[in-house]
């Protein structure tokens, strides 16, 4: 019945191709990540993708859906990768498995599968992990060129056995976490180098990783997978909000560039909030949505109980999407 009516011609990339292009756009960021945080990133990615595909396969079987059609759409791979990139590279394997299972089974399929999930699946998985295993989820290795000076065998050991001694020897809290603690304790913080907190090396790594994600993001904009609205509004809003606080009191609040280049800001701007399924669809809606995420990210980072606020900000704004969409309908042609 479906091939009987116009239009008889079509020119559109398939969903699979779109997802593969997103994966391709993630590559520079992934490479930079591996460079600074070690092979663990790659292990996380591999385990996440394998877990995602296996769980997707079984859920599709149980739901009686065409397995081949849906497993090749690539959406599970993208969601699993985004989750893996949000998790510390020295996290043990079961963390990533639990997170991915949540992402695929609960956040995606319980809500109806591809196209129906209300929340960003990767962020749901991340939020569950952050709430359940805060200690593991906030421990990152010191960024260095780990491929060069850090024993790969040791990393794999950490990955599979989660040896506590090794973790403690190489990990620390993230800069955002550290600064927050310092502010909370009423202690001064030094952005250059403070009691064993090599913020400088963190930010060098962070800036390069961020720029790599930016590169991939610009690529997606250039091939028209995403529009400018979400990333540009998000980054500008976050810069603006943090600038206002910073100008009011620079001893209490971090300058905008730290907010822009730390944590998952750029990953969030180009790859997380641009998830079409759980995001808004109208141009104006995208602007409201991105502003809301930026505001919440800032508030959670600075005033909230968690060092990183992207996941909760995105999940909260996902709830608002139907409202945002319905209130931001563009004027139909000739309806002025």
């Amino acid at each position: 019945m479906f091939n009987q009516q116009s239009p008889f011609v079509q020119k559109a990339p398939t969903v699979t191709l779109v997802m593969m292009l997103v994966m391709f756009a993630l590559l520079p960021g992934i490479i930079a990540y591996i460079f600074f945080f070690g092979i663990g990133v790659l292990l996380n990615l591999t385990i996440a993708i394998i877990t995602a595909l296996i769980s997707e396969y079984f859920v599709l079987k149980i739901r009686n859906l065409p397995v081949k059609l849906f497993i090749t759409d690539g959406s599970a791979v993208v969601a699993a990768s985004l989750l893996a990139l949000s998790i510390p590279s020295i996290a043990p394997w079961w963390i990533i498995v639990i997170g991915t299972l949540f992402t695929i089974i609960i956040a995606k399929h319980f809500y109806g599968g591809l196209g129906s999930n209300l929340f960003n699946p990767a962020m749901v998985g991340y939020a569950v992990l952050l709430v359940s295993f805060p200690a593991v989820m906030t421990k990152w290795p010191l960024p260095a060129s780990h491929l060069l000076d850090f024993n790969i065998v040791q990393q794999i050991q950490i990955f599979f056995y989660g040896t506590k001694e090794i973790i403690d020897s190489v990990s620390s809290a993230t800069p955002l976490d550290y600064i927050k603690t310092q502010i909370f304790l009423g202690k001064p913080f030094d952005l250059n180098f403070t009691n064993g907190m090599p913020i400088n090396s963190y930010f060098n790594a962070s800036i390069i990783i961020s720029l790599s994600f930016l590169l991939g993001g610009v690529f997606m904009w250039w091939i028209k997978i995403i529009t400018w609205h979400l990333p540009v509004t998000f980054l500008l809003s976050l810069a603006l909000i943090s600038a206002i606080f910073w100008l009011i009191d620079s001893s209490q609040y971090l300058p905008p560039f730290i907010h822009l280049f730390s944590g998952g800001t750029l990953l969030c701007a180009f790859f997380i909030i641009t998830d079409p399924v759980s995001g808004p669809t109208t141009p104006r809606g995208k602007i409201f949505f991105a502003f809301g995420v930026a505001l919440l990210v800032y508030l959670i980072r600075v005033f909230g109980g968690y060092p990183e606020g992207v996941a909760f900000a995105v999940i909260f704004m996902n709830i608002c999407v139907p409202l945002i969409d319905s209130l931001t309908q563009p004027k139909v042609f000739g309806h002025e």
Binding site: F8, A12, T14, F70, Q329, P330, F333
Partner: protein, 509 residues
């Protein structure tokens, strides 16, 4: 002129593969008169015309076969001289595939004209000219088939300032307007000047897509001396040829769904319609033929000037037939056209193009995936609708919501389906929702009428009951007062009479 330089781009649209060059290599060809012409009576928007001939009648070329029934209707004429063979329901080129009334004419091959009567419109006045045009059989030849006299005549309230000529021809493959401009530019310009005067318009703007440089050159050379006729090149973005989109491209005026362009002082005609009007007014020739593009998966694609009623099969045969045989043909363009139910149909006024389907056009489309709300469709929608929301509402039968999201503004141009990465046949969902809503509203109207009737009946019955009761009560009341006294009086009179009789009897005794 400033206006001519500025293009007002509409939202979205898509860049299609135009595929126009394949059918413009050859000139327009005329075929010999076929051995049988099949003329559907309904070839336009509006009422079916009233048949004026009988089976067995001999008709001349240009003779009226069916007369316009009412104002929104169009006449049908004999495309050549011959004998009426039959009037019966036959297959017509319509997406429904249902047969409709057709007049079959057997040409005598003499091609003998009826006496042509050119219209001296300046002397006759507009009203009479419009009446004549009503039976000229001219309808919009761009594909919509709206009777043209309505567009020329209905402007008393809002005078027409600008005549826009739709030469955009934005659908891929179709080249009949392009070829007409290349080969019959003179007739077109004469027609434009004529229609401009008929409308009393001050200026004419020809809107043409930038993928027709040959036609543009010819027309712009022809209008050099015409101070009131301009040509404006618009970018090749489908659907630039949609009337409202073209008006916006040209003057930046957005015409809403409820309004007609004439309310803004604008009237639009397709190039082929202009030539048809010219031939009727100046030469007295009714609408008997049109140019059809036969293209696509065919050996020698080209344009034909054909009499209405010509069997489509004879055209296909003349082109050498399909390259890859699949016996599937699309009428109109690939974006908005429809699959012909069969090749056994005739050329009608709406048949601007027949595409022999390329294999990829008809192969079973990939299984549609769920909508991922990527909003590519919204970016492509020239009406600025939210196709992803309309799809959701149409799919789940939430028709009221679909209407709130302006479903009926959808022009079914197909841009959304064209760009959908999930392969969803979006336009089909909108067509479904529209037809359901229309069916429901008809049902509701009928139900409303029935309910009103029933309410009225109940009311009437009650009223009658009440009236009857009142009448009875009155009668009773009358019985008790007047009639009783009358009765008593009668009785008294009877008694009195009896008494008198007794008295009389006693007297006699």
């Amino acid at each position: 002129m400033k206006l001519l330089d500025k293009i007002f781009k509409f939202n979205g649209g898509v860049q299609t593969n135009p595929k126009k060059d394949i059918s413009t290599k050859n000139s327009i060809k005329c075929l010999p008169i076929p051995s049988e012409l099949r003329l559907p009576l309904r070839q336009h928007i509006g009422n079916m015309p009233k048949l004026k001939v009988k089976v067995g009648d001999q008709v001349l070329k240009g003779e009226l076969i069916a007369e316009a029934d009412g104002n929104i209707s169009a006449a049908i004429h004999a495309p050549t001289s011959g004998k009426i063979k039959s009037v019966e329901k036959l297959l017509i080129p319509h997406p429904s595939g249902l047969p409709d009334f057709c007049v079959t004419l057997i040409p005598d091959k003499k091609d003998q004209w009826i006496k042509k009567a050119p219209v001296n419109w300046e002397k006759l006045g507009m009203e009479k000219t419009i009446k004549l045009l009503l039976n000229s059989g001219i309808v919009g030849l761009g594909g919509a088939a709206f009777p043209s006299h309505l567009k020329l005549g209905n402007n008393r309230n809002s005078p027409i300032n600008t005549l826009i000529i739709n030469a955009a021809e934005c659908e891929p493959y179709i080249t009949c307007d392009d070829m007409l401009m290349r080969e019959r530019g003179n007739d077109l310009i004469k027609g434009i000047k004529l229609v401009q005067s008929l409308l009393g318009a001050k200026q004419t703007i020809i809107g043409i897509e930038d993928n027709k440089p040959e036609a543009y050159k010819i027309i712009s050379d022809l209008i050099i001396k015409e101070s009131s006729v301009h040509i404006k090149v618009v970018p090749t973005i489908y659907p630039s040829g949609d009337a409202k989109r073209l008006i916006f491209l040209i003057n930046g005026i957005k015409i809403s769904k409820e309004k007609r362009s004439s309310e803004y002082g604008i009237q639009m005609f397709n190039v082929a319609t202009i030539v048809a009007i010219y031939r009727f007014i100046v030469h007295g020739e009714a609408s008997l033929s049109r140019i059809v593009t036969i293209t696509g998966n065919i050996k020698e694609p080209r344009n034909y000037e054909v009499l209405f009623g010509t069997p489509l099969e004879s055209l296909i045969q003349d082109t050498g037939g399909q390259k890859i045989r699949n016996n599937t043909f699309i009428m109109g363009g690939p974006m908005m056209g429809f699959k012909l139910p069969s090749i056994d149909v005739s050329v009608t006024k709406t048949m601007n193009c027949v595409i022999s389907a390329e294999p990829e056009m008809i192969e079973a489309k990939k299984e549609p995936l769920p909508c991922i709300r990527c909003a590519k469709c919204a970016e492509a929608c020239p009406v600025l609708l939210q196709p992803q929301e309309l799809f959701w509402f149409s799919k789940s039968d939430q028709f009221e919501k679909a209407q709130n999201y302006n479903l009926f503004d959808c022009i079914e141009c197909g841009c959304c389906s064209y760009v959908c990465p999930s392969n969803i046949p979006l336009v089909q969902f909108y067509r479904y929702a529209k037809s359901e809503i229309i069916a429901q509203s008809i049902e509701k109207e009928e139900a409303d009428i029935a309910r009103e009737r029933n309410d009225f009946r109940i009311l009437r019955l009650e009223r009658e009951k009440k009236e009857r009761a009142e009448r009875n009560a009155q009668r009773k009341a009358e019985n008790t007062s007047e009639e009783k006294s009358k009765l008593i009086e009668e009785k008294r009179a009877e008694i009195a009479a009896a008494m008198n009789r007794i008295k009389d009897n006693e007297k006699i005794k």
